[in-house]
Amino acid sequence: MDNIFINIAGWIRDFIAGFGLSEGLVYLAMVLVKFVAVLVFVLLNVVFLVYMERRVAGFFQERLGPNRVGPQGIFQLVMDILKLLSKEDIVPAGADKLVYKTAAYVIFVPTMLVYMVIPFGKGMNVIDLNMGLFYILAVSSLTTLIIFMAGWGSRNKYSLIGGMRAVAQMVSYEIPFVFSFLGVIMLTGSLKLSTIVEAQQDVWFIVLQPIAFIIFLIAGNAEINRGPFDLPEGEQELVAGYHTEYTAGRFAMFYMAEYANLLAMAAIGTTVFLGGWHGPWLPGWLWFFIKMYILVFGQMWVRWTFPRIRIDHMMHFNWKVLLPISLANILVTGIGIKAYEMLRTMGWW
């Protein structure tokens, strides 16, 4: 059971190699096959997450949520897709058309690029880059730019305010987000995600780096514009912020990217802090999936429990609370590692 997906990948690889292609071409073909697998995984999860969010929100607010289409409303997701795809595609006359359209096309790309290095199980990643974590941070920060493109290109005052807020928020929270991983990297001495997971064989990093994990959760939540940090969207004040003017397929891209980001954030948290595929009895990929969904549920819980915070409070909290704490965390981790080494060399440990 543990190797089921690896075996399937092996069969496909053998099948492709059967055409007599060279080593390099087989590798590239396998990347494409894995891309399709990841894409299907992400899309299915995104569709389910949309349903789950509405349902969970319903229960948190003592109402039912979607429950009409199919048992427990499970076919609501099919209807959602059909509805999104069958709407008219509107490009506002005043919009900066090139920027407006480009933003919708590229919003999903950074998210997909993040999934490329996530190890969904032992040996189950598309490409195991040796600078995986750094790559994730580099790629995911592109989202800021694309959201601003959407806000600017729409030529709508609400969109522009949403875009501006998104930039201010995502740029600010990126710093504690990036710093929260430093402790883990100091402990493992590697940026390769599979190595980071393997280092958590005995102790998950959530035990060694609890403060970093909390910083990661808060800053990650702000990075994906969810929960109490949904100021860029703010339905009640900005209509929908940067994607007010988008419709049909283009809106679908934004919506999908939002939930794919949520899932990606949970996947990163699982990999770096919750021990990835490690766990007893069940196969590794199932453990990964369970942990990922626990984090996703936590984020939904936070979103539907806390009210939206004011922008000055948000900025103060980031620069005057989270950032000093994350810097102190690096310092304490460094001192801790050095003290531990010293005790070991002196034979006291």
């Binding site: 795809l85 509107i90 490409i127 430093l182 001495g189 000055d312 810097l327 050095k338």
Partner: protein, 118 residues
């Protein structure tokens, strides 16, 4: 190594193509009945007043500046963190000094009110 990055290239191309497919499908399935009313900017049903692309609050820019300082710092911190255990005490103290300089920078920005939202 090179193979990995060529794989990344293929992956990137595939990821860029996918949204075009979705938008294209939506374009085929959706109706196309544009009229001038529909194409106006949606601002809660009111006609839009004045230009949209105006001068913006300076605060956003100040935060961006502080961000650049710290983001460049992370570029230095990451390689240091990877090699932390191998580098020994000297690199550790060196990095404490480096962070201390940045903390002074943060303190200065704080003192000068760059972190206040006005």
């Amino acid at each position: 190594m090179l193979q990995q990055y060529s794989g990344l290239g293929i992956y990137l191309i595939a990821a860029i193509i996918f949204p075009f497919i979705i938008v294209f499908v939506a374009l085929i399935l959706g109706p196309k009945r544009p009229n001038p009313e529909k194409l106006t900017t949606y601002e809660c049903g009111l006609d839009t007043q004045g230009p949209t692309w105006v001068q913006f609050k300076i605060n956003y820019f100040l935060y961006a500046l502080v961000f650049v300082v710290f983001d460049v710092e992370t570029v230095f911190l990451y390689p240091w963190a990877v090699k932390f255990q191998a580098l020994g005490l000297f690199a550790f103290i060196e990095m404490i000094i480096f962070i201390a300089i940045l903390v002074i920078g943060l303190w200065y920005a704080w003192k000068e009110g760059a972190l206040e939202w006005m």
